[in-house]
């Protein structure tokens, strides 16, 4: 048992917490009975303060065992600390893939459920929670409860940020695939309207996401590259790359960011130059379908270990909002206006989401924009001003990325759902007992 400083993937804020390692499923109930003010933590990939316990944090990575797999149905039962990376490694060669994956495969199944993570297929497939047969939760008093889609507890746990109990295990419904390749088509959009139209037109593609140039101004504002993707079939492979193996060869020697880069490395000029080159290259390659391996398609940043260090020792903040479709265009333009005049965002991703699955799930029908900024006072002020735009447009922020939104912004975005969520927390006696730095900050 040790007290130590913990942070999320964004490396800010840092909080002192007792860290208790869970080694087997039976370890959880005694901790629930003995502790108060605790939260479960998976692989620490939530960006902000979602997985920092108020007093105690349960390290769940020890629950990393798979339990059973049925190749007939694709149903895979796993403990909550299993990484999506482990599932891909074990099941891609057997012709199965997780139905939903976020931008990194180094998240646990428990974390993916708690944040109801979304992928490039949210517009068609929904979130991670939409592909579960059941999940088992340790309730605040330690009792294990298995729940299924349709129950209130299930709905509150999907996207519930671990605040309904500690997720112990779940049964995932994997999707069948024929190859480890993605058939990708790149569309270059010269401005924001074109980018939104291209994403709208891509809604029948299985996967669709846009990289957006957050620094382009004027008539080029919102220029983007839209990546549409389908799982390549054996026929696609025979067509496009007859000599390629069914599984892309593993990438060797992932790059590592070995130390915190000086805060000046990412500035308006370096990011601007990168963006211009990247857009030009993407536009040149737009057009015909080409095959991309599953790893660079779904998880480009996983190829760079510890990429969160490129923002310097002070950490970084990600701002990911979703804006209802009818008001997306103007709100996004307003956000890009602010950002392009204030601070460069190295990462800028735009995507169309469908309706959310769980009670507190982030998605709603509309566009989501994710931007990264080094954590400093000027950027915090900038993000506050972006929040005002999001609030006015009826949008909300993604809790898994959030480290700093105000209660007002949170209430404006999640109000009715949050009220029902609080009521359910009181009902199961989670209120006050299961608590993270995030739940305390937002008054959940």
């Amino acid at each position: 048992m040790s007290t130590q400083e913990l942070a999320g993937w964004g490396r800010t804020p840092r909080r002192a917490t007792r860290l208790l390692a869970v080694r087997a499923p039976g370890d959880v109930a005694p901790i629930h009975r003995a502790e108060t003010g605790f939260i479960a933590r998976g692989n620490g990939r939530a960006y902000g303060d979602a997985a920092l316990g108020c007093t105690t944090t349960l390290a769940l990575r020890g629950l990393d065992r798979m339990i059973a797999f049925d190749p007939e149905t694709g149903h895979l039962a796993v403990e909550a600390g299993v990484l999506l990376a482990d599932i891909v490694d074990a099941f891609l060669p057997r012709g199965f893939f997780p139905a939903v994956v976020p931008g990194t495969r180094f998240v646990t199944v428990g974390g993916a459920i708690a944040a109801d993570v979304h992928g490039k297929n949210h517009h068609g497939a929904g979130g991670f929670g939409a592909h579960l047969r059941d999940l088992t939760l340790a309730l605040p008093d330690g009792t294990a409860r298995t729940c299924e889609p349709g129950s209130d507890l299930f709905a509150a746990t999907i996207g519930g940020m671990g605040l309904t109990g500690t997720i112990l295990r779940a049964t995932l419904i994997l999707r069948r695939i024929e190859t480890g390749w993605i058939r990708q088509r790149t569309i270059a959009a010269p401005d924001l309207d074109a980018a939104l139209a291209a994403l709208e037109a891509a809604d029948r593609s299985t996967y669709a996401v846009a990289w957006i140039d957050g620094l382009a101004r004027g008539s080029a504002q919102g220029r983007a590259l839209i990546y549409r993707g389908e799982h390549a079939t054996l026929a696609d492979l025979a067509d496009l790359a007859p000599d390629a193996p069914h599984l892309p060869p593993a990438r060797r020697g992932a790059l590592t960011v070995p130390f915190d880069l000086p805060a000046l490395t990412l500035n308006r000029w370096s990011v601007g130059a990168f963006n211009a080159l990247y857009y030009a290259r993407g536009r040149a390659g737009a057009g015909p379908d080409r095959l991309v391996g599953w790893a660079p398609y779904f998880f480009p940043l996983d190829g760079i270990r510890d990429w969160n260090r490129i923002y310097g020792a002070g950490g970084f903040l990600q701002h990911q909002c979703v804006i209802p479709k009818a008001r997306s265009r103007d709100a996004l333009a307003a956000i890009l206006d602010r950002v392009s005049h204030a601070a460069p965002s190295f990462l800028a991703v735009l995507k169309l989401l469908g309706p959310g699955g769980g009670l507190m799930s982030f998605p709603l029908p509309g566009y989501t924009l994710a931007l990264d900024f080094p954590a400093n006072p000027a950027n915090r002020a900038l993000l506050d001003s972006l929040d005002a735009i999001v609030r006015a447009a009826g949008g909300r922020l993604y809790l898994a990325k959030d480290a700093r939104q105000s209660r007002d912004t949170f209430e404006a975005g999640y109000g009715a759902a949050a009220t029902r969520f609080r009521a359910l927390r009181r009902e199961i006696d989670a209120d006050g007992r299961i608590a993270s730095a995030l739940s305390r900050r937002l008054g959940l």
Partner: protein, 251 residues
């Protein structure tokens, strides 16, 4: 891995519920081996066996074994469905040095779990392997066995005994087709050390230990493997410090 012809080779894993043990089982199963898990904690071993089966679709049997019950070893070996091709012992009990200093029973348990039990069991398999003319024995020992230090010399002494035993076994059986590998992991990041501040360059992941173990045992057929080669250097320095100086160090 090109060297092993899969399907029929069998590895018996002794101490199957440790992190290094489970990672080792996974490395062997993924390389196409049949694996048998032996452990005292039946529920823990069954949990690991289910994991291996879910990942690979291959059945993984579990057998009960208490490493301190040496009298039961002959029957244990006799009752195995088949004499394994490889036996790997990852059994280890770190214990608590402060307690072991005053509690004889506790110290004895550390010594028996780290030395007596694993050595006698591997020694027994060595007889069967020598008679058959083939087999691989792998003992996971420790860099702690290279020099007694105030902070963990009960554990270290037991590991030193185990290392010496494996060395003797190797010396005796080298000409008889039996390969003996000693693995010294150094610091390992496991669920037990999760969150502890271990020096990164000196700390291996359990999967890294397993990969080095599999390679050393089945591919390159090494005698002694330091999972992180830097440890060979570190221990060379530690061994070279003269005792009059060493005894005054805080280690």
């Amino acid at each position: 891995m090109t060297q092993s012809s899969p399907t029929h080779k069998v590895m018996l894993l002794v101490g199957a519920t440790s992190d290094i043990g489970h990672a080792t089982a996974l490395a062997y199963v993924e390389a196409g081996w049949d694996v048998i898990l032996a452990a005292r904690d039946a529920a823990g071993a069954a949990r690991n066996a289910a994991d291996l089966t879910a990942r690979t679709g291959r059945p993984v049997p579990v057998v009960a074994l208490d490493i301190t019950d040496t009298a039961a070893f002959p029957a244990f070996v006799r009752d195995l469905p088949r004499l394994p091709d490889t036996v790997v012992s990852v059994v280890g009990l770190l214990g608590d040095q402060a307690r072991a200093q005053s509690d004889l029973a506790d110290a004895a348990l550390v010594m028996r779990s780290n030395f007596e039990g694993p050595a006698l069991l591997l020694g027994l398999f060595a007889e069967h392997f020598a008679a058959r003319g083939s087999g691989t024995l792998v003992g996971v020992s420790s860099v702690a066995g290279e020099r007694g230090r105030a902070s963990n010399y009960v554990y270290g002494a037991a590991k030193a005994g185990f290392t010496a035993f494996l060395s003797g076994l190797r010396n005796r059986l080298a000409a008889r087709g039996v390969h003996v590998l000693t693995v010294k992991p150094g610091f390992v990041r496991t669920r037990m050390t999760a969150g502890m501040p271990l020096p990164k360059p000196l700390t291996a992941e359990a999967a890294e230990v397993a990969a080095a173990l599999f390679r050393g045992a089945e591919v390159t057929r090494r005698d002694v493997v330091y999972v992180r080669p830097v440890w060979a250097l570190v221990m060379m320095v530690i061994r070279a410090i003269p005792e009059p100086v060493f005894k005054r160090l805080k280690l």
